[in-house]
Symmetry: C2
Subunit: 477 residues, 2 copies
């Protein structure tokens, strides 16, 4: 029996990321290499995701020691683990039912870990109060965002609900919104001015929604993904006034808050910006802010833990938020452990502090070096231009595809930038994400490259891309 009739219309309208196809191709190439195939490279460098450990940057020892001791408490008797690791593991195990990280926790997470996250937020935001009951730990920040969207978006609404999303932006979020039955309304970041977000453009996007959908939320990513803008407080204040005036719920994806690459830029949270504005804005703008253990110097993507903090959300809405979050069980306890360490890392004087400091500084300096070096190299290559990034984990260079390359892509029936990425993968063994997965202005082409790799990999990557790009431009000019 055929069962296409079964499929939800909203799920049908989701688009498939082009990266899936490239990922499969990369797997095939890796298999060929394993079998001894002769290629101009010995391995595939995967810089399509922002994944610190996959980029050969090492996990933080303190985090891993605490996790090992939580999973296998016999290690608490070992003399090899520092005393602050043991203390932390004991503290956490006392807060697990039956003293095991294998037990369920509360849906929102272990109470005292949520409390520590709340204290972390308060410190981060210069003392702005944070209430633990507004914080929910989830299996990654993306999961929290989907949940919040699910509460907000009435899939059965007419006209349909709209969510303003940045272009370029995080494709999974847009997919999630569409799967909930929302219409995504694109607003374009201004590439020429370093991918800035302009309120006039938000207004244009809102106007464009007229007659199409009823916009109820604005989604922003700061620091940016794929383009690494770090918003200024002034720009954020303009955004806050805009959402207040238009009665939009503000969804602030702030998972890259720990990646700001020096210079004059500084991360300020939307929570802090809202809270420090004048009344009634400070106590009326409804905000959900997302963070994650997958990013920062910790980079524990595989642990799947993030959280959302809600601000100024009606108690009546909060009731439904609780209800919906409780249909999921808790987030993996290993991830909750990581969030605890993220919120409350070793401090000066603790036995693990010197090593922790050295490891985190190494990651920060590697990243700061990578962003500068990659931007300079890529921006100088023929047919490429690359805006600098003040923050985030990526660069999003623009590719000037020669007409011959555009024709070839068309003949192959694939997107032009997917064609480019496929050639880069096949000929240079470098896997990046095509710009079309993130959205881009019509007629422009880009790719996203992760900077979360160790220096050796970055140098090899830049060598390969440089050589490929020169050949590519020759071949297709």
């Amino acid at each position: 029996m055929s069962s296409l009739w079964l499929i939800s219309q909203h799920v049908r309208s989701m688009s498939e990321p082009q990266l899936s196809m490239l990922w499969s191709l990369a797997a095939d190439i890796q298999e060929e290499l394993r079998q001894g195939a002769a290629k101009p490279y010995r391995d595939v460098i995967k810089v399509c995701w922002g994944d610190l450990h996959s980029g050969r940057l090492k996990p933080l020892t303190f985090v891993r020691q605490v996790l090992a001791a939580c999973f296998y408490p016999q290690l608490l008797e070992s003399s090899k683990l520092p005393p602050d690791v043991k203390r932390r593991a004991e503290w956490l195990l006392e807060r697990c039912e039956g003293g095991s990280v294998g037990s369920y926790t509360l849906t929102a997470g272990i109470g005292d870990v949520v409390q520590r996250i709340s204290e972390f937020i308060r410190r981060r935001d210069g003392g702005v109060p944070s209430r633990p009951e507004n914080i929910f730990i989830t299996s990654g920040s993306q999961r929290a965002l989907t949940k919040v969207l699910k509460v907000l978006v009435s899939s059965e609404a007419s006209p349909r609900a709209g969510v303003l999303v940045p272009v370029p932006g995080h494709s999974v979020t847009m997919s999630s919104a569409v799967a909930q039955g929302a219409v995504t309304v694109p607003y374009f970041l201004c590439e020429e001015e370093g991918w800035t977000l302009k309120v006039e453009e938000l207004q244009r996007a809102l106007d464009s929604a007229q007659g199409v959908c009823s916009p109820l939320a604005l989604y922003v990513i700061n620091p940016g993904n794929p383009a690494g803008l770090v918003q200024s407080r002034e720009s954020m204040q303009e955004v806050v006034r805009f959402v207040a005036e238009k009665k939009l719920f503000l969804l602030a994806d702030e998972v890259y808050q720990d990646y700001v690459h020096g210079g004059s830029s500084r991360f300020v949270s939307y929570k802090r910006v809202v809270a420090e504005m004048e009344a009634p804005l400070s106590d009326s703008v409804q905000l959900a802010s997302f963070h994650s253990a997958s990013k920062g110097t910790m980079g524990e993507c595989g642990l799947r833990a993030g959280f959302v903090e809600l601000l100024n959300v009606d108690s009546a809405v909060m009731e439904f938020v609780y209800k919906l979050f409780s249909t999921d069980s808790c987030a993996a306890v290993s991830g909750q452990v990581a969030l605890d360490v993220m919120s409350c890392p070793p401090r000066p004087g603790d036995p693990s502090y010197p090593r922790y400091r050295q490891e985190t500084q190494h990651i920060r300096s590697t990243l700061a070096h990578n962003v500068k070096r990659a931007q300079e190299v890529l921006d100088r290559l023929p047919g490429l231009s690359c805006q600098p990034a003040a923050g985030g984990a990526f660069l999003f260079p623009r590719v000037q595809l020669p007409p011959k390359a555009l024709r070839r892509a068309q003949e192959a029936g694939i997107e032009p930038d997917t064609f480019y990425c496929m050639k880069l993968l096949e000929e240079a063994g470098v896997l990046v994400s095509p710009g079309c997965d993130f959205g881009q202005k019509e007629g422009t082409h880009h790719f996203r490259v992760s900077l979360l790799v160790c220096s050796d990999v970055m140098e090899e990557l830049l060598r390969r891309v440089s050589s490929f790009q020169t050949d590519f431009m020759k071949e297709f000019s």
Copy 2:
């Protein structure tokens, strides 16, 4: 600004479990005890969930050693870990990007782990083929079920989509179905005959849906939750014929497959039953079967990992399944590690085998003892009757509430069985789940009690419930 308008109608129609309120009350009582309050008990026994470790049954050493070594690979150099633990950890780390469990894996899980799950299924099902590409690892089986429901249920459909659900049944599933926009159509299990599932009742339920919704799926739980029926192959074949005839998608929740308490009952998977039936049934009935690392002798609820295997699903539908599953990142890698061990445990001859065997046998025999002992004690108490359970992690005794108790509940404005559970919690320090959270025939009252506790806790639990029940019946008769 008020924002109730924001909330999705489907989310509004979800009902809140009564357990939430009881859980908060339990937390208050625990706090009072900590502060030295005088009560007739020293602690709260929480048997409201099926959680092995919270019930003081110990984690399996092999699983925990492998996890510790994966998180902190320096342990691979220690002489304290058995060689098969080290081999397993090395095997797993080789399959993680960058050699770290902190990296993302494929959405469906680490390829070779999925392969092992597929081999486990094939062994379990007496050689019936299982294809890795039909298996998706997720953050718990419940997550997989929600995803499958999301593909199936068109929230915008008219008439609305219907899902047949057992009563009593797993409340979170019903909540998820409602949140997706489906109508749940209850079918009643026959308490008097040991909570059996009857096809006549499925037919009655289907008829009752006429004019209300358009049923597209049947959800079964085998072994049962909250009532521990283990279906016979004959009964399952009848169900398969029914779904084939009515063109329903079969959702088989089989997470308790490892809990069958001796006697003549034996777990057979729906996958196997379908595959071994005659054509065209064997290659046309569409099935999703769910399993989890949270149950079995492993009981690693806190790791959040489960999987779904799909059978006979149209390739066109599969495409959307892939798409929807890929909006989530992978499941936590710690959970994937646990699933690997579940699929491929130590074997005779392996250094860890004797200990593994002893630990798993201890859990099995404790559970088999608990189910027998608890059923006998509870069934004999005044005002209680309790069907035996052939499988699963729970008993679901029926409470005959005296009219005076019913009146008191009504005066307090709460469900009668919530009133009963509240008294049990306050007076005896035992937290169970009220029957109304699972659904029950009108005018009947039940509670669900977990059997996943060590023997000491079980004895103390039965002492408390016995004494409470006698007093309760006296007080309210």
